[in-house]
């Protein structure tokens, strides 16, 4: 049984159908790419998966184990996150005026184990939990060597590190599936290469399933095991990178003729 099963998902804005009848399957542990021209509906699909938009029709099923399968469509974003989906944003949306550490700690809120009264009176439980939180947060920050900057304000980080922090923050919610929206945007080839490796690494370390949107083919073709291609809101192709690269429709709509940048 697949971990995430999207069936005939549609979203329209007024007259515009941004996502139209899209179906896809993601198995546990997979690393899947989602590509397509600008405006194809990739981000919209993410927004549907994470509850930011309510689908016009269609279903999104998450099955963490064989017994339980949940419909995610129509859930509020925080409930989707609780169910096990975490994301990053195409336009970075960090808590800019908070410290790096706080950015991560906020994402860990749903796993906190003390109650409101502890928050007011700082009982022992509070201290124990806060210590645990801090430790875990620092561990996560270590992935991108950010723990030295844990007391910096997020907005003062260089662009690339902000993108890294977004990933850390998403990981802090302990997701089963991680959705990355253009993680390499604005990075130079060196930085992209480093990011590619990191994604591969965290995926193993955290036993994650990853779905990522990216226009940088050097990243997509290198680490994605499977690729879905959207165009005008419709799924026009899916398959292994080698096949996608040769797919006529994809080349015409998206890659262009001389694909030699992978």
């Amino acid at each position: 049984m697949s971990l995430l099963k999207v069936d005939k998902l549609t979203k329209s804005f007024g007259g515009l159908t941004a996502v139209s009848n899209v179906s896809l399957n993601i198995e546990k542990g997979e690393l899947v790419g989602l590509i397509g021209p600008n405006g194809a509906g990739k981000t919209t699909l993410f927004n549907l998966l994470t509850g930011v938009y309510v689908p016009t029709s269609g279903s999104i099923k998450l099955s963490l184990d064989d017994k339980n399968s949940r419909e995610l469509g129509g859930l509020k974003p925080y409930n989707v996150t609780k169910a096990g989906l975490a994301r990053t944003f195409q336009n970075i949306r960090l808590f800019k005026d908070l410290t790096v550490l706080d950015n991560v700690r906020i994402a860990m809120h749903q796993n906190i184990e003390y109650k409101l009264m502890s928050a007011f009176f700082h009982f022992n439980k509070y201290y124990k939990e806060e210590d645990r939180l801090k430790e875990e947060a620092e561990k996560l920050l270590d992935i991108f060597n950010l723990s030295d900057k844990k007391n910096e304000l997020a907005k003062n980080l260089p662009y690339g590190e902000q993108r890294h922090l977004e990933i850390v923050r998403a990981l802090a919610t302990k997701p089963a599936i991680l959705l990355l929206d253009e993680p390499a945007a604005g990075m130079n080839p060196n930085e992209t290469a480093a990011l590619t490796e990191t994604i591969a690494r965290i995926r193993k370390e955290f036993d994650l399933t990853v779905l990522l949107i990216e226009h940088d083919m050097s990243l997509v073709m290198k680490i994605c095991e499977r690729i879905y291609v959207l165009d005008y809101g419709m799924m026009i192709a899916s398959g292994r990178p080698e096949d996608i690269r040769k797919n006529r429709k994809v080349v015409e709509a998206y890659l262009g003729e001389d694909v030699n940048n992978a």
Binding site: V52, F89, R105, F121, E130, T173
Partner: protein, 321 residues
């Protein structure tokens, strides 16, 4: 218990020293009845400002109705305390006033907190007006004529206990995971939701806690000034509280405390300048905002200032615009 940590003991010591010093000064007559009124105003305004700061400064929800919650606390306490003329009655009155304000906070918060920015401001303003009009027309509150003859139980000790208690509790809350959840809403609501935070729940929570403490402040107010009437809790009062919060710095508890103190002292000082007091006050307000738009403290706390090298435990909210 970690409550007995060095840091907490130190705070406790400071509190006790402050209390004792003022108490001794009162007993020696160095702090007169007149100064005491200023102190009472300061304490009540501190509670109001700190609680509004939680809603507006930390959670980022623009509320123009804080005086409404204050009035609920004031009337409930006044009514109970007038009928039960004892310290116990006073304490029951305060608790009942705070709880009543909190309940109204939940009832009003759930539908209105879906609104954003100025739309929320209008809704909270309207809500406070509704509360005011109700008090104006109720029999038990004696309507426009006001409620007079409230026994005075509020004294320095109670003021101190409730003010220090409010500051500590709200400060603790802000430094907890729940408090960080509130702050994340201010920073970016969409991102907060995507990080698993039920933003509606935490907005309502902040709003309710704010209302609860505003209720306490109202109760103390009623019991200190003998007399309350609905007019005293109009939208201008809400604005006054907001002024303290912004002047101190949105997102700084210390700022609220300092601004409440400065403004009360300033108002008292300006009493002497009858003809121009409001002109001076207004001009100072404009000047302070021009030269310190982020408020006196920005989002810094007093503890940040003493912690140069060790930035470890800096407070969550840190907005320097």
């Amino acid at each position: 218990m970690r409550i007995l940590m060095k840091k907490n003991l130190l705070i406790l010591l400071c509190l006790i020293v402050t209390f004792v010093i003022v108490q001794v000064l009162i007993m020696n007559g160095i702090i007169t009845r007149f100064h005491e009124i200023t102190i009472a105003t300061i304490c009540i305004n501190i509670i109001l400002a700190v609680s509004l700061n939680l809603v507006t400064g930390f959670t980022g929800q623009f509320s123009l109705g804080h005086a409404g919650f204050m009035s609920i606390g004031a009337y409930v306490c006044a009514i109970i305390n007038s009928r039960m003329d004892s310290t116990l009655g006073f304490l029951i009155g305060i608790l009942a006033g705070a709880v009543a304000a909190a309940i109204v906070g939940v009832i009003i918060g759930i539908p209105t907190l879906r609104l954003k920015g100025d739309y929320l401001a209008i809704a909270t303003l309207g809500m406070a007006e509704i509360i005011r009009v109700i008090f104006l027309n109720l029999k038990i509150t004696n309507g426009a004529a006001g409620f007079s003859g409230i026994p005075r139980y509020t004294n320095w000790m109670w003021l101190f206990i409730f003010t220090a208690g409010s500051i500590i509790l709200i400060n603790n809350f802000i430094r907890s995971s729940h408090g960080r959840a509130c702050i994340s809403i201010r920073e970016d609501e969409i991102a907060a939701e995507s990080m698993g935070i039920n933003t509606t729940k935490y907005k309502v929570m902040a709003f309710t806690i704010g209302a609860f403490f505003a209720g306490i402040a109202g109760a103390l107010f009623a019991s200190y000034f003998y007399f309350i009437k609905p007019d005293a809790f109009g939208f201008l009062k809400s604005i006054d509280i907001l002024v303290i919060v912004v002047l101190g710095g949105m997102g700084s508890i210390t700022g609220s405390v300092i601004a409440a103190t400065i403004l009360a002292v300033l108002t008292t000082f300006l009493q002497e300048f009858t003809a121009v007091r409001m002109i001076i006050y207004a001009a100072l307000l404009v000047l302070i905002m021009i030269f310190r738009p982020q408020g006196l403290m920005g989002t810094k706390e007093i503890t940040d200032i003493f912690k140069f090298g060790k930035r470890e435990e800096r407070l969550n909210g840190r907005r320097n615009r």
